[in-house]
Structures are given as structure tokens and as C-alpha cells.
């Protein structure tokens, strides 16, 4: 115990009473001989040799994903008329912790909303697939899809623009339909009726 150096004041050391001494458990006679334990282990591994294999042979077989909440490549949803559903509110760009979304907004050519994205880029290499953009979107325009085989030859190729993101929607809308198609645009403007107060969709 002796000979411990004087601890300068203000320096926090681990207090003696906070140290828990954990000794190795004593081995029983059989364990000290190793052999019974070794044979037990070999029995286990031998049994595993003939068990059903859990490998998924990837390109041929695919794991079944939980489509609803799998966070793969993003898509930009289309509304019923095939227009981009985004209203260019910048909520996703603000929420994004990786700063991978870049939006250029412009005046909407349609009368049910004020703005629409002229440009909408997502750097898929920067993205951490956290799903915050999806959480932030007030009109459920941006969503993560179950698509995960994301490949490209250059960095530029992996920056997905608006067209590419809409194509992802076209590819995946069968598998994962848009969550809440009715809340595009502003209630009461244009040609659609106001939303019910609860805001529920189909």
C-alpha cells in the first residue's frame, strides 16, 4: 500500500473505495486438467458443423427487410399529379446532421404551394442515413427507402439530384407506397379540400 505519491490538490483520483477487486475464479480440479472442458467444447463445435447454416447467399438470396422503417437510399415523393411533393421549406436541410442536403428553391409554378425545389441534391456519401430529414419533412416528401445496393464509380455520381431522387420514388413506390399522400400543399388553397383537424390520411 505504502509509497503512494502525494496527489496534488484539485486532481481527481479514483478513490480507494471505488475500486472493485475482481479475482480470477478458482478453477476446479477438472478445469485445471483442461481436458474435460476441451472435450466439451469440441462436442459443441462438432454439433455446429452439421447445423443449418445461417448464411444468406447475397446476390441470389436477399434478406427480407422491414420495408416500413429500413433506412436506405432517399427518394423524393411525387404527389397524385406526378409533381415533386417537396415544398422547399428547408426543414430537412436544417435538420440534417451531416449537411448532405442542398436545396435551391424557387417560386412554384403550381397554385397550391408557394415554393418548389429548383434543385435538390443529396450527397449519398456524406449521408449517415439517420432519417432525420424524413422526420423533419412537414409534407412527407422525403423518405428513406429499402434500397441499399448503392454503387457508383465517382463521387460526383453519388450526389443524387432531384431527377435521380424522383426516379428512386418511381422504382420503390410499389414496394413502399407513400405514407401520407394527402398532405401535399397547403390546406384550403388550390383545388384540394382542407385537411381534417386530426391530420390523418388514408
Amino acid at each position: 500500500m505504502g509509497g503512494r505519491a502525494k496527489v496534488p490538490s484539485g486532481v481527481v483520483m479514483i478513490r480507494d473505495e471505488d475500486i472493485i477487486v475482481v479475482d480470477e475464479p478458482d478453477l476446479s480440479a477438472a478445469e485445471r486438467l483442461y481436458l474435460p472442458q476441451i472435450l466439451g467444447g469440441m462436442r459443441t463445435t462438432f454439433r455446429h458443423m452439421f447445423k443449418k447454416k445461417i448464411t444468406v447467399q447475397y446476390p441470389e438470396q436477399k434478406r427480407t427487410l422491414r420495408v416500413e422503417n429500413y433506412r436506405g437510399v432517399h427518394r423524393l415523393n411525387r404527389d397524385e399529379k406526378g409533381r415533386v411533393a417537396c415544398v422547399s421549406c428547408f426543414m430537412c436541410e436544417t435538420a440534417c446532421p451531416a449537411h448532405c442536403i442542398h436545396i435551391v428553391s424557387g417560386e412554384s409554378p403550381w397554385e397550391d404551394r408557394e415554393k418548389y425545389p429548383i434543385q435538390f441534391d443529396i450527397d449519398e456519401l456524406r449521408c449517415i442515413y439517420c432519417g432525420m430529414c424524413e422526420e423533419a419533412c412537414p409534407v412527407d416528401a422525403i423518405e428513406l427507402t429499402p434500397e441499399y445496393h448503392l454503387v457508383g464509380l465517382t463521387r460526383e455520381e453519388m450526389i443524387f439530384d432531384k431527377e435521380k431522387l424522383l426516379q428512386v420514388f418511381d422504382r420503390t413506390c410499389e414496394e413502399k407506397p407513400r405514407k401520407n399522400p394527402r398532405i401535399t400543399g397547403y390546406a384550403g388553397t388550390g383545388d384540394r379540400p382542407a385537411l381534417p383537424p386530426s391530420g390523418g390520411g388514408h
Binding site: 475500486i19 477487486v21 463445435t45 443449418k52 447467399q57
Partner: protein, 402 residues
Amino acid sequence: MVDVVGVMDILKDQFWFSAGLAAALIGVIMTVVAYCIYFERKISAWIQDRVGPNRVGPLGLLQPLADGAKFIFKEDSIPANVDKPLFLIAPTVAFILGMIGFVVLPWGGSVDLDGDGVVDVVAQVADPGIGLLYLLGVGSLGVYGVVLGGWASNNKYAVFAAMRSTAQMLSYEIPMGLCIFIVVVCVGSLRLEDIVLSQVGEGHVWNIVLHPVAFFILLVTIFAETNRTPFDLAEAEQELVGGYHTEYGALKFGMFFLGEYAHMITGSAFITVLFLGGWHLPWVPGLQPEDVSVGAMFMKMGVMGLKIVAFLFLFMWVRWTLPRFRFDQLMRLSWKGLLPMCMILAGYAVYLVYVGLDRDVYWALGGNIVLVLSVLVFNVLHRPLVSGRQANMPAIGGRQPA
């Protein structure tokens, strides 16, 4: 047309027969080594509930070829500060020492090539009177590749691995030598064919029946000699990066790899010859010493091969089951466990030979059983002085775990 009789005449000369056998062995052993690596991966996969390599060729059977091609075409870099000559020699040494052990192994007993009732050749590349010593020497030199590689790499981790490997080899060489001593004392010859012949025929049994404990200890020491898990401290990647071959790549790394597997095959053959009757199976016609036809030779080679394959499987099975020993456990097992047991066994074997009972199954087996029982009793009564943290160390203070 090949003149069969002419070929036979040439082969009846032991020199040419040996040359042919050596050429065939190199091919066979290299293939077996390559497929050892394939099966190592397969067995590890099966044990871990995976499928293993299955992409290259049917069932992945061409995987060794792909691996080999990869080794050849990779950049063969030599780090800047290595001891260049030694760095280049080390993998070669490991590989060659792994391969040259095969020449003294008795693969198929005596052969009568032309069927005239006269034994023409021995199915063995070389048949020296000191075959056993030769095998022992080559096996022990196997550590040379490891030490040279570790030293030449100019890398502290590689040197650590080399040092560990050396200490391990020294510690396990002694029980191994004593196990072999038991066999040699009972057989009275260092010729490997004599050792096989002493285990076959009327009234003779395999040495494993006479000396099961010695067989088992030899098996353990061969695991250690070949640096296989649980004795693979020389390539403990968690502690030593890659161990002695940290700085090696491409074909040079491949040669270390092949050398290790060739070493395993030699070790398996070694223990087969010493304790499991080599090419012999009891009661099977064609595998007895008086069967000397060419067909019998091939059968004997097959049996020998099967026994080796069984051992290789055991090596892999154990590797994917057991964790690695800690260094103090490694040393304790050899010096305080195997060595005393071996010394008692060796003394008992000498006594049996002295009183002429060395071929008596009951006496030999009885001694083994008494030894095992006394070790068990000793083990129950004896508390090791050191187990993990030393008991006589002062407490660090603080509270004991609840």
C-alpha cells in the same frame, strides 16, 4: 506406347523408385496443402454455422488455385529496414523444412514390383537407420523459419513472436522427445519402418494401445510444434499484429503458410507412424507386412493418407474450438504437467523393457491407468500456488466484490 516392362525394370532400382516417389510426393503434398487451406476455411465456416468458400468453381473447390494466383500476382514488397538476405531466406527455410520431412516416412512398406516373390524396393524415398532422429531434427528446425522471419523483419512484434515461438518450441521439445524415447526404447530401433513393423502382425498391437498417455502427450506437443491453436502464440494477431509474418506479403507470406501446413502433415504422419501403425490396419487383408504387391502398396498408401487426413481434421477442429493459451499457462502445461508425466512414463517404459514385459498390453496399459489416476488424485489435492493474481499480494484496498 509406354514400355511397361522397361519402366518396371527401372523402378526396381531403389534409386529410381525413390526419385519417382519423391516427384509424386511433391505434387501430392502441394495439392494436399492447398486443399488443407480450403478445408480449414470450410471447417471454420461449418463450426460457425456459415457456408464457407463456395464461389470459385463447384463448391468452391477451385479456391486454392485462386488463392495461389492471388499470392503470385500481388505486389511482392520488401520493407525498407529489413535484413534483406535473412528476410528473403526465412520463408524459403520455413517452406523447405516443412517439405523435406516427407522423405523418410514409410508410405507403403516393402513392394514386390514384378510379382516374382522377391521384395524389390521399399515404398519410401529414403530409408535411413535414423529416420526418427531425422524427422525430429527437421521438425525442430521448423522454428527456424519463424525466428529468421521475425528477426529479419526489424519489427518488434515480429521479434516478440519469434521469441515466444522459440520458448514454446524448447519447452515442448522435451516432452515430445520423451514420448518418442518411450517408443524407441520399446521398439529398439530408430528406423521408421521398423517402428511400423513392431506394431503389426501376430501378437502385436499399435503403440497407442500400449502407451495411450504418451500418444496423447505427443499429440499435444505436435500441436505446439506446428504452432497451431491453442498454441499459436507466434501469430497472436490480437497482441502481435500478424506475429512473425507481419512484414511479409504475396508469395513470401504464402510460403510461410504452405510451410505451416506441410509441417502439420509431417506431424500427423509422424504420430501415425509412431503410435497408429503407419500403413497398417489390423485384420484387413492387403495391409499386412507380407502383402507386397503393387496393389497392396497403393492400399497402404491410402490407409496412411486417411490416417493423416483424420489428424488434419482434428487439428482444424481443435483450432476452431479452443482459445489461445496465455503464456504462463503454456509454460505451466509443459514444465509442470507434461514433463513430469513423461518422465514417469519413460521410467516405467524402461522398467518394462528391463523385465521383458514391454509387449504386454496389461502391464503397459495398467501403468498408464495408474499414472492417469494418480495425476487426477494429485490434481484434486494440490492447489496451485499461483492462479491469476497471486494470493500473497497485498490487497489493492477498497472493497471486495459483493
